[in-house]
């Protein structure tokens, strides 16, 4: 399979090369990426769509393995052999490339106005003045539930926290299903699917996140401790031996139909659609009282930037403007359900579960994970510590207050917010 793909690619490049010579005007743009999984989508859908509208520009998608991407890209950029277009990791990794002068400033790129400030925040300097990557996709947190199980037990989708815990109680009392599929063994589930999932409702999304970065709020404040208090209450609803339950275990528990609710990230949609034999639905993190403003974690995950040393900067900018357009967003979001376009213009998607997730953007306010921007640059690393402490809180080995205090002490030891 791989060799076939490789031959096809080689053949493709050789043909592209010869036609390039024949026309003598064609420009070839190379895309660096770690998303090898998306190769066919780029080759069959995205690139032909762009090339049809832009004669004279050829695009080649050349991914490398995810684990090698950062190192390989660094070496290629240093040697001057990197592609014209560079797929951007969020936050500090790309910011470092921009500071070294490897990525070009794209603040004035036509099409950037299609994105909200939150969407652009992952690829901006700390002061927000220059943007250097076009946001491509984000992932949204929420809860996926087993619709068949809910119907069988006569349960209604919860919108408030009280309803949420009432539903969990009913599932537990019935005993057929494990109320919630989540483990603490791999630590990040507790932090990412737990704390960062339900947290924004407490700290009011972007308001709280910005205040934390400015130093106006502390992790020991009520709004930041309360999500831990809720997490601590999850413990009785998790499966037997959840302390040693890994992330794949949780996925399997849910897709095998043994658990009713799965604290999720939208990236699961593709896998769950192929594995689960039952109907699924999704609901956003429940709010305190009916009618409260809801906040969701709509985390920026992937973007695309311009190699500052590219010989074809004009053509590459044309391509990036297209990446920023609704056309690209529609094709991309439909090919990869669960990776949502960050474009402000609404995208029509076919997958019902993905539609459900993305519909929350209309009624809730979006934010990103609180620990990702700026706050995870020092030692101890706030993101890693959040993993450990979230698991501790659910395991019951740390109280919510103790966990929050540890995180804040660690952050204080190196982070001095700008006054």
């Amino acid at each position: 399979m791989t060799t076939k793909l490789l031959t096809a690619l080689l053949l493709g490049t050789s043909i592209l090369g010869t036609t390039g010579m024949a026309l003598a005007e064609d420009v070839t743009l190379n895309i660096e990426s770690w998303r090898g999984d998306d190769l066919t989508i780029w080759k069959d859908k995205l690139i032909p769509a762009f090339e049809a509208k832009n004669p004279g520009i050829k695009v080649v998608f050349a991914p490398s393995a995810p684990t090698e991407y950062d190192a390989a890209l660094g070496a290629k950029l240093a040697a001057g052999s990197a592609g014209d277009l560079i797929t951007c990791r969020p936050f500090d990794k790309s910011l470092e490339l921009f500071k070294k002068g490897n990525l070009a400033d794209l603040s004035s790129l036509p099409g950037m106005e299609n994105f909200s400030p939150v969407a652009k925040s992952a690829w901006q300097t700390d002061d927000g003045k220059s943007s250097f990557c076009v946001p491509m996709a984000s992932v949204i947190h929420g809860f996926i539930y087993n619709k068949d199980a809910f119907d069988k037990l006569g349960l209604k989708v919860p919108t408030t926290r009280d309803e949420f815990f009432a539903v969990l109680d009913k599932i537990k009392a019935d005993g057929t299903y494990i109320p919630m599929a989540m483990g603490t063994k791999d630590l990040w589930e507790a932090a990412t699917m737990g704390y960062q999932n339900i947290g924004p409702n407490y700290w009011k999304g972007e308001d709280g996140r910005a205040a934390l970065i400015k130093g106006e709020q502390k992790l020991t404040d009520k709004d930041w401790v309360a999500p831990y208090e809720e997490l601590a209450k999850w413990k009785p609803y998790l499966g037997d031996g959840f302390e040693a339950q890994t992330y794949p275990d949780s996925q399997n528990l849910f897709t095998l139909g043994r658990a009713a609710i799965y604290p999720a990230g939208s990236w699961e949609i593709g896998l769950f659609n192929t594995q689960a034999q039952f109907k699924m639905g999704a609901f956003p993190p429940p709010v305190e009282k009916a009618g409260d403003t809801c906040y969701i974690s709509d985390h920026t995950d992937i973007g695309m930037g311009l190699n500052a040393a590219s010989k074809h900067a004009e053509e590459a900018k044309k391509f990036l403007s297209w990446v920023a357009s609704p056309d690209f967003a529609t094709i991309y979001a439909n090919a990869l359900p669960g990776f949502f376009s960050l474009n402000s213009s609404p995208v029509k998607m076919e997958d019902p579960l993905a539609q459900e997730f993305v519909s929350w953007r209309g009624k809730c306010k979006s934010t990103i994970r609180s620990t990702y921007q700026i706050l995870s640059r020092g030692t101890p690393n706030l993101e890693n510590e959040t993993w450990v402490e979230s698991a501790n809180v659910i395991n019951g080995t740390d109280t919510p207050e103790a966990a929050a205090k540890k995180l804040q002490t660690g952050l204080d030891s190196w982070y001095k917010p700008a006054k």
């Binding site: 936050f91 500090d92 483990g183 603490t184 063994k185 791999d186 630590l187 990040w188 499966g239 037997d240 031996g241 959840f242 302390e243 040693a244 339950q245 890994t246 275990d249 528990l253 620990t371 990702y372 995870s376 640059r377 030692t379 101890p380 690393n381 706030l382 993101e383 890693n384 993993w387 450990v388 698991a391 501790n392 395991n395 080995t397 740390d398 660690g410 030891s413 190196w414």
Partner: protein
């Protein structure tokens, strides 16, 4: 005059033996290139710090950070404590069981000895990844065989998710490691037992020393040097351990760093993890400390223990 003559004579008698150097060269060159140079490279790296994209000499600054800054020192002492416990379990469980198995295997009345020997040694040659993954599955509360087997004998209440509990995880993993490596002490002791001459055993039997007494009074003193070697191998292996913890618990060595040993601590510092950016200089400082700990342990053994061990010439 006379001494000069004698010196000239010895020179003439003993030409420079080039072949010694030639034969040693491949090993020395390879060892220098792949072990000694990197070792000094690590030591050098630990004395520098990356300040604004350039390496600046900071003397022992990284070590001061490692021991003085609570953000580093708490994790370091935790890792060291865990590592010592990891070693203690190996010394208390792996080596006595290894000696016992060897003694059983060398008994002439045991049938299928070759089969047992092979079966017990096989885990040693398995990859850490396989061992870590297999035991994670065996001990899994969801699909593992451990809860079912315990249920079968009516002891289900004894089961807890060992790998997920702070108080048990490290001990559980130490025992997995013991399971994997018990073959090595067994084989070394087995070889030592086989090398005891029959005359010694026969003489003991003539003197009426048989059975258990024979093992304690005759065989054990004769295999003590081997036990010493095994202890030092275990020490070096344990303080360099990393793979099993990494495959079973991940780089954050959860829950709550309870399985964090020096190897995983070094890995996180050197290569970084998730949003944590790697710091090769601090990593090198930790690696240097690990090197010194192992060096100290080996020196204690060489100068204090080995010189006192009595050797018997047959």
């Amino acid at each position: 005059m006379a001494t000069e003559l004698m010196a000239a004579e010895t020179r003439a008698k003993r030409p420079i033996r080039w072949h010694v150097g030639v034969f040693l060269a491949p090993a020395v060159l390879v060892y220098t290139a792949f072990m000694i140079l990197p070792l000094f490279g690590t030591l050098q790296l630990s004395l520098f710090r990356n300040i604004e994209q350039s390496q600046v000499f900071v003397g022992l600054g990284n070590f001061r950070t490692l021991f003085g800054d609570p953000n580093w020192s708490v994790n370091f002492w935790n890792a060291l404590r865990n590592n010592v416990w990891f070693f203690i379990i190996h010394m208390l469980v792996q080596n006595p069981i290894g000696v016992l198995l060897a003694a059983l295997l060398s008994s002439p009345r045991l049938r299928f000895a070759a089969f047992y020997r092979t079966a017990i040694f096989v885990p040693t040659i398995l990859s850490f990844v396989i061992v870590g993954f297999a035991w994670k599955l065996i001990l899994s509360p969801l699909w593992g065989v451990a809860p079912h087997l315990l249920d079968f004998v009516g002891l289900k209440s004894l089961f807890t998710p060992w790998l997920g509990k702070e108080q048990y995880a490290l001990t559980a993993l130490s025992l997995v490691s013991v399971w994997q490596f018990v073959g090595i002490p067994m084989m070394l002791i087995y070889a030592a037992l086989l090398s005891i001459p029959d005359e010694v055993i026969e003489a003991a039997e003539c003197d009426g020393v048989t059975g258990m007494a024979q093992f304690w009074k005759i065989k054990l003193p004769l295999i003590l040097p081997s036990i010493g070697i095994i202890s030092i191998l275990t020490f070096v292996g344990n303080f360099n351990a990393f793979d099993l913890i990494y495959t079973a618990q991940g780089a954050l060595a959860g829950p709550n760093y309870s399985t964090d040993i020096l190897g995983t601590f070094l890995y996180r510092a050197f290569f970084g993890f998730q949003l944590q950016v790697g710091d090769p200089n601090m990593g090198a400082a930790i690696a240097t400390i690990m090197f010194l700990i192992i060096l100290a342990g080996v020196c204690v053994y060489l100068f204090l223990v080995q010189t006192r061990l009595r050797r018997y010439q047959f």
